[in-house]
């Protein structure tokens, strides 16, 4: 799984800390999205690893692991598309 992770960020203290023009490192994340969520999806044992939730997640937060699928809760917004798309009802939305 290759996806950006949360990076540390300090507001520049001097002008030279700013980039030239409006160009900076791609995929540089400094804030989470977890606070946007009221409910979190939980992948249950009913999962058959069909990958529909992985494919249709607008945020790409569902990822493959050696033991099946997992969710990056730092960036999951809790939209529930995964729950809807799952053919086996293997994803449950749980109130935060």
């Amino acid at each position: 799984m290759s996806k950006p992770t949360l990076r540390s960020y300090q507001k520049p203290q001097k002008l030279a800390d700013y980039p030239l023009g409006t160009a900076s490192e791609a995929g540089y994340l400094v804030t989470k999205n977890s606070g946007w969520r009221n409910e979190r999806p939980i992948i249950t044992d009913a999962c058959i690893n069909c990958l529909q939730c992985y494919l249709y997640c607008p945020d790409g937060v569902i990822f493959k692991t050696e033991h099946g699928l997992d969710i990056d809760y730092d960036f999951c917004k809790g939209c529930g598309i995964c729950e809807k798309i799952c053919p086996k009802q293997a994803i449950k939305m749980e109130v935060e």
Partner: protein
Amino acid sequence: MSNKITAKTITDSEFFYGHKACAGCGGSLAVRIALKVLGEEAISVLPAGCMSAVGFNYPHLCFSNNSIISTFAGTASMLTGVEAGARAVGIKNFKTVGLAGDGGTADIGIQALSGAIDRNDDILYICYDNEAYMNTGIQKSGLTPFGAKTTTTPSGENVHGNIRPKKNLFEIVAAHDIPYAATASIGNLPDFINKIEKASKIKGTAYIHVVAPCPIGWGIPVNETIEIARKMMDCGLWYLAEYENGQFKLNKNPRYFSSVEDYLLAQGRFKHLAATDIETLAAQRDAKWAAIRKIWNTTEEEL
């Protein structure tokens, strides 16, 4: 076909990640999938609009591939410059892709898009169509369908939302005799993925028009984005098609349609429609499909 990109074989890398799009955003799914198919060699150009607004907030930058925001009108012209510039400085194995919304494509950006197709620049242009200016808060665009209520096409006693039909941008683009154009929907990602892959191998301009519902603008729950996209195809108000070698081809030719009324009334933006409005839309659908089936190549293909 076994060599097609599937959920199993598509790269694990995420190129549009940590973005600030609304929960359940269809546009962000379209962009995410497009970049996963194109990979790290994609150089993407996004105009002012939802996806640039949610992806490029310094210092929080959500595209892992090379990406740039263009002016609202300038997606295609900047793609042209990026493509020429990349070649000029000797970069090899790159793919320039435009990711623009319906307003940025069908309204303010259509001149630059037309120019790029006319030059047959080696670019891929993907329009994610959510049927209104969603970034500014749901205003009518040239791709807003007949009857839809937006903040600039309110529904009332006299006018029931937008009074004009949706521009047929797929056929406008095809009329340039573009090497490749296709329609798609985030309701059918395998089809969308195949079309992106096909388009990425086209030498010259390729265009994909992907419907990507906006739950807020359409007035649906945020978890129903995919469902509503599927209903739109099932009821025949959207179709999957391609234009290639001067021919139109219908990818899926359903024997019968689901109810237009069910599709429309599932959405807040159509709640006000009268029975006659719904009949008008159904009649427009039937006329369009009659024309398609008469003129286009309707050979069914595996999807």
